[in-house]
Symmetry: D2
Subunit: 191 residues, 4 copies
């Protein structure tokens, strides 16, 4: 059985580096991967870029109304790898699940779970419901605990209002990852 | 930091036995637990019952509009344990998360992820979004693969229509756990 | 590929209840399991017994110089389940690994990692080196942290000298599970 | 409680990239890490190098008879990170465990489990016995299964004889990672 893998983690937990490593591992063995990024994520255009200074061209920039099977047929990959998977639509996640079961192609999806308001991204919530294998990529909060939540900063100040999607680096917005306790404390002070 | 743990698994994967073991482990060390069951689950009344033949009285039958803090204050538990956690409301999951962070009481929630139509139970989806620690309780499909999905049977026949909640044993309904491949095959034949 | 699974945990973490659940899950689907216990463990004779009050007859009491394949051939199991797997010999672990790969029969082994002196049991160390899938069964220390080490008590007093194997309940010996910090503190005071 | 983490994986599973990511995550939050490499590993001198094309200077090249505490005192790190941890001595692993418990400094160790003869590296076996948290870094076998074992190649030919330590790239030696089934098949043909 091929599996749908979901690797989730807070902002800056190393999701893209892990993704690049997996693509490298497949290709080093002479296998083919297709790297997909939902086109809703405009950061870095058609590249996936890790803060470690490594990057790779995306094979498919996937529009919200687009299916995945058509790309499968052209590319016949040994594995499908998805960056920023929280931006997948529910239908796309269901299609990826079916691909693992009916065509036997493993899918490795990397993404966030919740947005800066602790609301789940729809694509991530569906991945969590369906994935055959769920694993957390961990990072650290400034307080020393595991960071699990994402804080949105405007000009460096925590904010708890706004739309779900606002890409890092636009309109003075940045993100930081924090533990649940620090998140709740910051929200009491700034929210 | 106290954590919100979510232990998910298909029907008959041993969630209740695992829950009873954890309660036993705490009490053996002289600590106090509160066992909660959402009242929407009417099977077994105010008991949690494992197919291994062991059971335990539930401390709190939790109505959908009820909060958890009030029970906390009375009982001052060292841990909160929730059976059939997929039936929690979104607010109750958020409250449990806050309890782990603000009061430092660990919460261990056991439940299903998806219903017989592969749709997430709202309480489970929220737990997957927020839990600090997610782990699968595994069981086996008749084909030998890991069972991850739930099939609803009426008089032994797979059915793919009906309401999300229909408790095991009522109206000739039973459930079986299957792998994703067997689920999709059965749905093509019976759906 | 069938896998060699090792489920380790400190004393009283619920290893036997988990084992009984897995056996039940297989049998409920009409599959056959063989439950093995190394004969070095004399507690409970030919039974595996959980502190939750459930038990089961062992199919094979395995002597240290005995092979496993012969039992396989007679019983043609769908899975092999081993209790007290820390008492397996190195050769037996290697044989179990080969059985999973050559005959495609999954093996689920449950056991301790380290003895009361924090020294690895040889069978457990070999399982940790070879297992395709390693998972911890967790329990709680009196201090609230995760218990990972085992303390030997003689008449209730911690002791740090003695032979590796001394079965629970003989010669006034009992065991308790503690976290690493409590273990090291106790050893400074009593060791 | 600070933990001793052991992240194991076959050759080329991405252990060093994961290590570099963790170091980056700590430093991005303004925390200090000490990166240790046992001096027995002569590849890359005083650098840790990932096949993804990223590297970092090692802070401490650790000789087999050297202790770790002295480096701790000088550097007062927020975390200790160990590359090629399979080459640690038993005493060094025990010391790292004590450091996590007594001084509250987390230790993240990355390494192989078994050598090319499926024998455990002593440092790895001790880490598996003691680590508070064990996780596998996965990679793929040419056959599509998970690679868990390491094959030594001399001029591209599998070999099953020789000393445990022979660093990649010396004396025409290279390594490949394979699944357990492929390992056993290769050994029957070449062993």
């Amino acid at each position: 059985m091929s599996k749908l893998y979901f690797r989730y983690g807070a902002m800056n937990s190393g999701k893209t580096a892990a993704l690049l490593q997996v693509a490298h591992n497949y290709e080093e063995k002479g296998m083919k991967v297709v790297v997909i990024k939902p086109s809703i994520d405009t950061k870095g255009d058609d590249k996936v870029t890790s803060r470690l200074g490594i990057e790779r061209k995306v094979d498919v920039m996937l529009a919200p109304d687009e299916g995945i099977m058509e790309h499968m047929i052209l590319d016949k990959p040994d594995a499908i790898i998805v960056d920023e998977a929280q931006f997948l639509t529910l239908d796309q996640v269901d299609e990826l699940y079916a691909i693992t079961k009916i065509y036997g192609v493993p899918v490795l999806a990397y993404g966030l779970r919740c947005d800066f308001q602790m609301k789940g991204f729809p694509g991530a919530s569906r991945l969590l419901e369906l994935a055959d294998d769920i694993e957390e990529l961990k990072t650290i909060c400034r307080c020393g605990r595991k960071a699990t939540q994402n804080i949105r900063l405007i000009d460096g100040e925590p904010t708890f209002e706004g739309s779900q999607v606002a890409i890092d680096g636009t309109a003075n917005i940045t993100y930081d990852s924090v533990c649940g306790e620090c998140y709740l404390k910051l929200r009491r002070h700034h929210g």
